[in-house]
């Protein structure tokens, strides 16, 4: 049922190359989920998010410090390996300095015909953020129009909004099924779905989602749900890690990370000024820790609501090693979980996943959660 999503995830570059050959369109490789994909769809450009490969590489050290996060190091390795050479454009919206370094290395060593750095407000709750961001979008649109030679109309923007909103709403429908006592999908399957949405034409993804939603509610799986877990972190498409956890009689039923729910959770609400409407969506989405700068702890509230709704029994907090924004959040976030009666376990991710070392920790964590099953 999820084969199509898995196939897209595993063959993302082949997909993008075929898409280019088929449509003659341009591909924009982007970093960070604060990039307004609506505008790219309006311009008939295919946005694809830059991911790592979880393979060790010897191409990173000359570009990025060892104490920068493994994800950004992995991404730069992909670029230098030439795996994104088909990209016509590259852009980033400002979130963290580590990803900014990937963009800078890309710009210096493998510039494409369109390189774009989009400033993005950090204080997303400020009253000035929305007009600021809408103005940035306007500048961006002008740059894209110049690049593609095509004027972006209001109708184009509406089309972009519609494609994105539909994708978000369909994936939210799938997420509702994760709340069931016996969810018909695993966390790994869900990860394939959400990650692939950042890698392929969302119109095709939407078709696959519609097909999935017809079949998924009545799907009978032969596995037990076991312990209901939430996975929380930054970028975490660590399929091997998630498969290992779910092989130990547990299921990820909720997530908060930017390769999962955080990227698509809310939609653009219709408004006369399309750019203000899109800006509102990005400013009010479940924030990345780089954007959750006030003491309102918007992200924490959102995460707790998700955890409670999904009846989560334990939370696995995974962090890309050296990811400062998450590092700052984690102690308080763990306390928030524990105060709500949800035990947590913290793990640091690297480019490659040390399955054996993590397995013992996760097994012990699960044993702790189901301590009543052991005789004392």
């Amino acid at each position: 049922m999820f084969d199509q999503f898995k196939n897209w995830y595993e063959n993302r570059h082949e997909y993008a190359k075929e898409w280019k050959a088929k449509t003659g369109g341009k591909v924009m490789a982007y970093m960070c989920t604060y990039v307004p994909e609506e505008i790219l769809y309006a311009a008939d450009v295919l946005p694809i998010r830059v991911y790592g490969s979880h393979e060790a590489s010897d191409l990173t050290e000359q570009h990025i410090f060892g104490m920068y996060c493994p994800f950004c190091r992995d991404c730069v390795a992909q670029v230098m390996e030439g795996r994104y050479d088909y990209a016509d454009g590259v852009m980033i919206s400002q979130s963290c300095l580590h990803m900014r370094q990937v963009y800078s290395s890309w710009e210096i060593h493998k510039p494409t015909e369109f390189m774009y750095y989009m400033p993005f407000p950090i204080a997303v709750e400020s009253k000035h953020a929305r007009p600021h961001l809408a103005a940035e979008f306007k500048i961006f649109i002008e740059a894209v129009e110049k690049w593609t030679g095509k004027k972006i109309t209001v109708q184009d923007l509406d089309r972009g909004i519609e494609i994105l909103n539909k994708n978000r709403e369909l994936m939210r429908e799938v997420y509702k099924l994760r709340l069931l006592d016996n969810p018909p999908l695993t966390g790994v399957e869900c990860m394939h779905m959400t990650s692939s949405s950042q890698m392929v034409d969302k119109r095709e993804h939407n078709q696959a989602l519609e097909k999935l939603l017809k079949e998924l509610p009545s799907r009978k799986t032969d596995r037990e749900t076991g312990i209901r877990l939430m996975i929380v972190g930054s970028e975490c498409d660590d399929i091997e890690f998630m498969e290992m956890v779910e092989s130990l009689n547990s299921t990820f039923v909720a997530d908060d990370h930017c390769t999962g729910s955080r990227a698509f959770w809310n939609s653009v609400e219709p408004e006369e000024d399309r750019l203000l409407a899109i800006a509102k969506r990005y400013l009010e989405r479940p924030p990345c820790p780089t954007k959750d700068a006030t003491k309102n702890f918007v992200r924490f509230h959102h995460v707790m609501e998700m955890a409670k709704e999904a009846k989560v029994e334990g939370a696995v907090i995974i962090q890309q090693k050296f990811c400062d924004p998450h590092e700052i959040d984690i102690p308080l976030l763990r306390k928030r979980f524990e105060d709500n009666g949800i035990r947590t376990y913290f793990l640091e991710l690297d480019v490659t996943v040390p399955i054996g070392q993590f397995k013992i920790r996760i097994e012990a964590f699960l044993e702790m959660l189901r301590a009543d099953e052991l005789p004392f």
């Binding site: 640091e348 013992i360 920790r361 097994e363 012990a364 044993e367 702790m368 052991l374 005789p375 004392f376």
Partner: protein, 292 residues
Amino acid sequence: MAEEKKEYWRWLESRWTNPNINWRQAKIITGGVDVGSVSTQAVIMADGDLYAFANMRTGSDSPNSARNAFNWALEGTGMAETDVKYTVGTGYGRVNVPMAKKAITEIACHARGANFMYGPTVRTVLDMGGQDCKAIRIDDKGKVESFLMNDKCAAGTGRGMEVFSDLLTISINDVGKMSMEVDVEPEPVSSTCVIFAKTEATGLLRQGWAKNKVLAAYCRAMAGRVNELLQRVGVVKDFAITGGIAKNIGVVSRLENLLGLKALTPRHDTQLAGAIGAALFAKGLLEKDLKK
């Protein structure tokens, strides 16, 4: 002819039978096998009391290591493998213990074993194993409340100490004691990585440092490293240490100084904690099965 290289890191293997127990009179006989990265222990318990154990070096494959230790524990007892009604496997090779009906992590087993070895007052357990160390908070029954393990490097573990034993050509059994023979405590060497520490130690030897002073610097580094782990999990009295390094006075006394807390004195070989915990779980699981 080249001189045969002495392996200073090699610790003594051992086995023991409790002379006060007649296993034939026991109602429940269970086993626990802890296949660690460096050592393997097999424990036989009769009605929840320690009857026999074997403590050996782990070989290149886990099933054989488990089998060898188990057979050695049974040796001379007249007990057959079939007399052991339920065995639990633990340690990094826990899923490859041929005679085990169930695998339980060494975190849970060390917690349970520490409760048995040191009594119900233990709340913080430090397991200093061959290639990892764990700080575990437990309740009065030996149930895990929280735990932390070291990261990737073997600094702060038994393997690290073995590397130093070989480097300094001092038997592993003597390194702790020798490290105490210093008038002034030296600054610790690097605790980030065993190889860094070894490189630093080599430099110190070249500068003319005595071996015991280098050992003191390494034991202090190791104590500091595990202290950090303990502080992260939170130290609550009573405190106990399991694993091979618990036998190293050089590390233990320095750690006690850092903590301002004495570690409890063990009733049994500290390397047995995991296997004892496994055998106790085996007893509970067997009783559960028998009730069905």
